[in-house]
């Protein structure tokens, strides 16, 4: 008991003890942040940033100040009470991989110094023990929201401040932006958040991802103006500010920007293009009408624009001309307009698309996008299929989609077709199973040349399409009428 008491009292007085430097200066141990061995010298670094050369080696001070100074690296002793926090360690020089242990190493932030002192795996466990902690990295339980973002490589900078921010208080908003605007971070600050592991380089894709995420957060919070142009104009808005502070993105990185934005919206579903205020270039090619907004007439062809617009207007239906694969942004705007007028009613989609793999894909994607935007699809009606053509006509209007050679189970695409196009076309054909859309020729040697055919929707007579639409619409309206309870 008395030994324990003696030890604790001695430890209490350790910071008061003095160390004599080589130049006979007296340094109070309590003023020393860390001791470092470099180029044959042992130096003590104090809170005022001064360095004092010491006469003995680190081992000497380690045993003399046991419990006060702690060995964290072959070349460093730190004052335990000055340890303020830990950072992930990014060595400046490449180290042998077998000597590294990510879990047991970190960099220490110390009160009284800007220098970050490395902790290597050799000393990691002892440091954790002295600090009474189990990990350098995951000590504080992570909030599920933060974890989700971290796993996606995102940091919600200053979220708590943003939550409490009065957006009408302009100076406060400006001060907040000044503190957290990623675009204005210095290169060093960027490195501290977006460094690639083991390399002293900035991960550009992570920077771009975080800038996009921050813009979305700030636009939705009302402290940043939405885009008044298209995606390209947003890129230049970002790049211009970045160039002033940390010139890390070049003109070639525009593609990284596009692909990252696309990935965050269309794959991860983090937000929508519309949230950024981007223009919908297809806006003139769609309309939601009042009478039957839940009836949607769609075509993939720009050539059908006037035709479907007139037809839709005649019956008070909605229409959209997708001009090929439907653009995600167009479907966002169109869906929102539909929501406004449909009030939750499920949609019936009448679709005009080519009878080929692309046409079917367009149709599927149109339905998928409407569903992703919160619509229920009651029915999808194909206005153009093979039944709209006479059998004799099919041989005339069809066009080759892909050609391939076949022997047993072996398939070889005939250029310009690629294997993936052949696979897609075969999948499509197997779904359709119409013998008029496939032909085979003997090539010799057991090989056959197979052609899969498609038909352009333009080849169908518009009168027939119109009739199909009207018939379908009438049936639908009759059904609805029958469902409505009779008024008393």
């Amino acid at each position: 008991m008395s030994k324990e008491l003696q030890k604790r009292v001695e430890r209490l007085f350790l910071p008061q003890q003095t160390i004599i430097s080589r130049k006979n200066e007296l340094i109070r141990a309590g003023a020393i942040v860390f001791m470092q061995y470099q180029r044959g010298r042992v130096e003590a670094v104090t809170t005022d940033g001064l360095r004092y050369e010491l006469p003995d080696n680190l081992n000497h001070y380690e045993s003399l100040f046991k419990g006060y100074f702690l060995r964290v690296h072959r070349s460093y002793l730190v004052a335990v009470e000055r340890i303020e926090g830990t950072f992930e360690r990014f060595p400046d020089e490449v180290e042998r991989a077998d000597l590294r242990g990510k879990e047991d190493e970190c960099e220490l932030a110390l009160t009284g110094s800007d220098v970050r002192v490395p902790v290597t795996a050799t000393y990691g466990r002892a440091v954790k023990k002295a600090l009474g902690i189990s990990s350098f990295h995951n000590l504080v339980p992570e909030h599920p929201a933060d974890k989700k973002l971290r796993q996606y490589g995102l940091i919600d900078f200053g979220w708590r401040e943003l939550y409490g921010l009065n957006t009408a208080d302009k100076p406060a908003v400006e001060a907040f932006k000044e503190r957290w605007d990623i675009k204005k971070f210095s290169r060093e600050r960027m490195l501290s958040y977006f460094r690639q592991y083991g390399v002293n380089e900035i991960n550009k894709k992570r920077v771009v991802k975080n800038i996009i995420y921050q813009m979305w957060r700030w636009i939705t919070a009302g402290i940043e103006e939405p885009s008044d142009g298209n995606i390209r104009s947003m890129w230049y808005r970002i790049k211009a500010v970045l160039a002033h502070h940390a010139d890390i993105l070049g003109p070639g990185d525009v593609n990284t920007f596009y692909s990252t934005l696309l990935e965050m919206i269309e794959v991860a579903g983090l937000f929508r293009y519309r949230d950024f205020g981007f223009m919908d270039m297809n806006a003139p090619y769609c309309e939601v009408n009042d009478q039957h907004p839940e009836i949607v007439l769609a075509s993939e062809k720009i050539g059908h624009f006037l035709f479907i617009r007139n037809l839709a207007r005649e019956f008070g239906a909605s229409f959209i001309c997708t001009k090929g694969e439907p653009a995600v942004i167009s479907l966002e705007y169109f869906s929102d307009d539909l929501h406004e007028k449909c009030k939750g009613r499920p949609l019936t989609v009448f679709c005009i698309s080519d009878i080929d793999p692309s046409g079917y894909s367009i149709e599927r994607n149109l339905v998928k996008r409407l569903e992703l935007n919160g619509h229920k699809i009651a029915r999808l009606v194909k206005l153009v299929d093979t039944s709209i053509f006479a059998s004799d006509d099919i041989a005339v209007v069809r066009f080759p989609v892909v050609g391939f050679e076949k022997k047993g189970e072996t398939v070889k695409p005939v250029p310009p077709a690629t294997m993936s196009q052949v696979t897609k076309a075969l999948d499509w054909f197997n779904e359709l199973q119409d013998p008029r859309l496939i032909s085979e020729k003997d090539k010799g040697g057991g090989w056959k040349i197979v052609t899969i055919w498609g038909i352009e929707s333009d080849a169908a007579e518009r009168k027939l399409i119109e009739k199909r639409f009207k018939d379908g619409l009438q049936r639908l309206l009759q059904k609805k009428k029958a469902k409505k309870p009779a008024r008393r």
């Binding site: 008991m1 008395s2 324990e4 008491l5 604790r8 009292v9 430890r11 209490l12 009470e81 340890i83 303020e84 926090g85 830990t86 950072f87 992930e88 970190c106 932030a109 600090l131 009474g132 902690i133 350098f136 990295h137 995951n138 000590l139 504080v140 339980p141 992570e142 909030h143 929201a145 940091i155 900078f157 979220w159 708590r160 939550y163 409490g164 501290s192 958040y193």
Partner: protein
């Protein structure tokens, strides 16, 4: 050989003295623990997202309470500098971690306080507390079920 009465008394006296010294040492150690608590720092969520862990000095903490920002239930540690730090540990988990700490005690369903940071209190059915460096009091910081223990530890 049986002890004579005189020797027995001397040995009993020595034993008593040793027992007394042990008690004294224990008392000194307990007092030392109040000056030099066993836990000095507490890991909290760092303000700087680049940091993995931030160690907050417990001697600076006035009180610990629960907080909900943007629907997030968190625990907040408020320092005498008026700064707030956060952790996702629940108050009951922090109480368990600090149960040996001589300065901290649970004083209500929502509060743990640092006894050494109290500068004033208002006596009513509950206790409102004023802390060093903080202008506003913490209302109902000590509720009735914790009052007796609070007063015992405060004096």
């Amino acid at each position: 050989m049986p002890l004579t009465g005189g020797r027995r008394n001397i040995e009993m006296g020595v034993l008593e003295m040793a027992r007394g010294e042990t008690e004294l040492l224990k008392e000194i150690l307990a007092k030392l623990a109040r000056i030099e608590p066993p836990i000095k720092k507490f890991a909290v969520t760092p303000e700087d997202p680049a940091m993995s862990v931030y160690f907050l000095e417990l001697k600076d903490v006035c009180y610990i309470t629960t907080k909900s920002d943007a629907g997030r239930e968190e625990t907040m540690l408020v320092t005498s500098g008026g700064k707030s730090y956060y952790t996702n540990l629940r108050l009951v988990e922090i109480e368990e971690k600090l149960k040996e700490h001589p300065h901290f005690m649970r004083t209500s369903k929502f509060y743990m306080i640092n006894l050494t940071k109290i500068r004033a209190l208002k006596v009513s059915s509950a206790r409102d507390l004023w802390f060093d460096g903080l202008e506003k009091p913490v209302v109902n910081a000590v509720t009735s079920s914790y009052l007796a223990e609070f007063e015992k530890r405060l004096t």
